[in-house]
């Protein structure tokens, strides 16, 4: 018998429904669909919901609501259908984001390429053509975890954290790419630099991306990036968008 999906408590902040213990495309779709289903139930004790890569979090004050009662509700909802068969959400966008790979602006390209068993040139060729999907938004506001890259990009995080990588940094680890919302310390390797703003707090749409969106980080020169940085008004960082579903 499969141990998934399974329900775990998260401190006293709520319950987590995990669909797998490793990233998989069906489990990611399951998490998105299950979260939407919980939202549509309108349960009064639920404060808010969110998804991670392969799990859905249901925020409930476990100091006020017994964990057993909510576990039962979630179990019943889980049993109502095969969540791994769920479709992707509708209204998705493909983003083509101009990206400067390597150079002093993204100093860990060579190191990441070596970990993936590639030359830096091969790494850029692969990464700049990869079409990845926003698997979840998290860590920082609007910040996407995207994937999945080919298996040889299953490179671990660094043992020690980098002190800070800048806003718009493209980083890689465990077959995923992230564009950082803000300057942040990280264990992921900094391989590219974009001018894309994932979080625009004073805009009508503060969050640029949604889970299910797709992204291509195409290769540009340092000169092009400087030009974009000096002229970008809306935070798109020169990105082109296209409706895909």
């Amino acid at each position: 018998m499969s141990q998934f999906p399974r329900i775990r408590s998260v401190g006293m902040a709520g319950l987590l429904v995990q669909f797998a213990d490793a990233m998989s495309e069906p489990a990611n779709r399951a998490a998105l669909a299950f979260r939407a289903a919980v939202d549509s139930q309108g349960w009064p004790e639920v404060r808010e919901t969110s998804t991670s890569l392969v799990s859905a979090f249901v925020s409930v004050d476990l100091g006020a609501t017994p964990v057993e009662a909510l576990t039962e509700k979630l179990s019943d909802l889980l049993a109502s259908r095969d969540w791994l068969d769920a479709p992707l959400p509708e209204g998705r966008t493909l983003w083509r984001v101009p990206t400067l790979y390597g150079t002093d602006a993204a100093p860990q390209l060579a190191e990441a390429a070596e970990a993936a068993g590639l030359s830096p040139e091969e790494a850029v060729a692969e990464l700049s053509q990869a079409r990845v999907r926003v698997l979840t938004i998290g860590f920082a506001p609007g910040q996407p975890y995207t994937g999945e890259l080919a298996e040889h990009w299953n490179i671990p995080r660094q043992q020690a954290l980098s002190k800070a990588v800048p806003q718009g940094a493209l980083v890689v680890a465990i077959r995923q790419l992230i564009v950082f919302t803000n300057t942040t310390p990280t264990g992921w390797r900094h391989i590219g630099q974009t001018a894309f703003r994932t979080f625009r707090p004073d805009s009508e749409r503060p969050f640029a991306l949604s889970p299910g969106d797709e992204m291509i980080f195409h290769n540009i020169t340092a000169t092009e990036l400087s030009r974009i940085q000096s002229t970008d008004a809306d935070g798109d960082g020169g990105a082109q968008r296209e409706e895909i579903a």
Binding site: R8, S9, V10, G11, M12, A13, G14, L16, Q18, D21, A22, M23, R35, R47, E48, T49, S50, T51, S52, L53, V54, S55, F57, S59, D61, L62, G63, A64, P66, V67, T136, I137, G138, F139, A140, P141, G142, Q143, Y145, P156, R157, Q158, Q159, A160, L161, I174, T181, N182, T184, G187, F199, P201, D202, P206, F207
Partner: protein, 339 residues
Amino acid sequence: MSRTVTLASAGPALSVQDMGRPGFLAQGLTRGGAMDTLALAEGAALLGQDPGLAAIELGGMGGTFTFGEDTRIALTGAPMPASCDGETLAWYASHLIPAGAKLVIGVAQTGNYGYLHVGGGIDVAERMGARATHLSAGLGALLAAGDELPVGPDKGTSTGMTLTPEARFDGGTVRIVASMQTDLFDAQTQDQFTATAFKRDARANRMGVRLDHDGPAIAAAGQLNILSDVIVQGDIQVTGDGAPFVLMADCQTTGGYPRIATVIPADLPRMAQAPAGATLRFSFVDMSEARAIQERDTAARAKLKSTLRPLLRDPSTIRDLLSYTLISGVVSATHDPYQ
């Protein structure tokens, strides 16, 4: 005159905080808000107003403040020396500050986060539904000398009240519950964790508190390749260097380092207020005990107002004692009666 508070000087970590900004976890934004929400509740009780109103959080030290109108204030959280035009003010009390008078708040004597509450609350514009500054998200900024903040209308009038705060400013034992990744740490590691006296590292901010300890690093199996998953405030994350890191108000919403346990909400103020170098220990409680603790905490916050009592001033602490008419009809030998 206007209802404002102006900062003539500001310590390095002053910010506007309230109960935070719920509802954006799915977009990667944690609730944020005051590091010590009990102190917000205490300030609201002292002023007889809603605990959802915003206050100024004073990280480590205060500053110098003046008000455009007579303004009620309350001082809570980490005790700091405070004075109004040179006259000492009691911490954990409410006071009336006259328009133009100089309120000076110094360095925390113990704990980390003091709070300056004003009658009517700090009335800066809401952003995404709250006034809380969330530095790691880029919402708002630290306050600086020269800032002038609007103060909301105040319906209350009472001042000169005090309460005795729950002790929480010197470290101690923090209660934790098992969480979704606790079993990634073997029983021996969990025992090591609860047997260790940690010291709060000086490196700490609103995102999290790093803990130091002697002895072997704390480690889970395969911890550099754990799938990123949801993070909540109070989670105790163990990074590659084996030092626990307790995630606090402005933490991230997701992360891939394993978490050994989660601090229960009732003990987050103790965690936030443990000063650098303070000793902290962790003690597991089961879910039913944790729920009982939380119920007691909620009840205690709800009845804070009933614990108020009038502030009795100790004459020995009144610097300008001679300016008070303590006994009417007595004429000073040095005072010129014809002046």
